[in-house]
């Protein structure tokens, strides 16, 4: 099994969710993170101009069976892309075991 972690723009979340549902990835968890990346954002606060490289992003964590890896990654890339700097990254890492708390069963069929 694989863990697919994606860092996306918050504004793309609904689109990504939709795309994931379409490839039948219905279960995942997400939370909001700050990111240091390439994108910079300039503004003025109380007369002080500032640039922040601190961008609000959403972190998706999706554990899937190996045969879902490809389509999940593709779905995210397609739906989360805007083409401008700051679209985010996807990381894939191995998962050794999965348990469903409700039943105590383990393995890929719990996903």
């Amino acid at each position: 099994m694989k863990k697919i972690e994606a860092i996306i723009r918050k504004s793309k979340f609904e689109a990504v969710k939709q795309a994931l549902h379409e490839v039948e990835v219905n279960f995942f968890s997400y939370w909001d993170v700050s990111g240091q990346g390439n994108e910079k954002h300039g503004s003025v606060y109380r007369g002080v101009p500032y640039k922040t490289s601190d961008i609000q992003r959403r972190w998706l964590s999706i554990v899937v069976n190996d045969d879902f890896e490809e389509r999940t990654v593709q779905a995210i890339i397609e739906s989360a892309k805007t083409g401008s700097v700051g679209d985010g990254k996807i990381f894939v890492s191995p998962i050794e075991e999965v348990y469903r708390i409700r039943t105590g069963e383990s393995g890929g069929q719990t996903l």
Partner: protein, 409 residues
Amino acid sequence: MEHAVFTINNVWMMISIGLVFIMHLGFASLESGLTRSKNTINILFKNVMILAIGLSTYAFFGFSLMYPGEAFAGAYFGFKGFGLPLPNGGLTETYNMGYTFYTEFLFQAMFAATAATIVSGAVAERIKINSFLIFSLFYVGLIYPIVGMWHWGGGFLAAMNFHDFAGSTLVHSVGGWAALIAVILLGPRIGKYTADGIKPIFGHNVPLATLGVFLLWFGWFGFNGGSVLSADPATVSLVLVTTSLAAATGAVGAFFTSYIKFRSYDVTMILNGVLAGLVGITAGADVMSPNEAMIIGAISGGLCVLAISMIDRLKLDDPVGAISVHLVCGVFGTLAVGMFGDKAGLGQLWIQFKAIAIIAGFCCLTSFIILYTIKRTMGLRVTAREEIEGLDTHEHGMTAYPDFRLNEH
């Protein structure tokens, strides 16, 4: 004795100024509480600026448009001249037994700004800030005083015996009609009406919204109580009782309606119910008995809950329920003067109806012209990206709660 009574009256009117002033904080709190955190700065900005612009333009010409003087009795339009030149004896009882010239100006100026604030809630989360400010400038500076002159300024509606004590129509529906037009011209917020139906967009800070409603109720003591234009114990105390009881039964009416219809204990509906009761009683607060006030309040409360849900089904996206509260209950309250209380009767009902219709026509037309012109020129609505990422970041370059971790909606 004369002087003492004049002084008391003036004190009461000055207190009412303070109370109506605090309604602007009430609106700012309610509107920001019922919308999303990403647009909070924008709403606060709008509400502070509306008040600032409202007071300034009212001083420049609004007051002179609305109260052009007796020469214009029964007329459609009048203008006394720019600025606030102090009339002879304007600060003594010869001006008026109830208040000085300055007190009168400030009380009316605080009223004026509320009309634009009503619109502000309905168009929240998607209107361009500049476009809104320009709209406000015209609506508060010109349209509101002209309509106001028709009745309170001694114009043709006054001559017609129209009764709108403190402005169910002259303030609340004047704001409400513009809100309706603006909502139609702007369209709904992205994500509100989707292929799978209506999606709720939650208000981000319910304690703030609740604070807003309590402050509005508090302010209404001055809005209605001050509209007596003196401290006359009999009338003012009646008005405070009818106002408060209507607010209370507005909450009760909303409670039952919302429970029966939706099985829900939704506090935002109760809050709207309170406001509905307040708006509903405003036209007739001086001519109702406590019992009649309670009935009007309860009906307004129920009506407003039904209206919120109906307006949503019409795909008119009004984030804070401004149309239901101010327009629907404003109209109902104005008609109620013909149905309940000292003035009830078919004749009065017909007068009320005519006045509502005339004002509806004028307000819809003028607000359409202003808003449509803005739409065609500078544009009314922010871009989709700005809307999704929030007006605060894009229009203001700051966020309302930088230390808090937020969910994006």
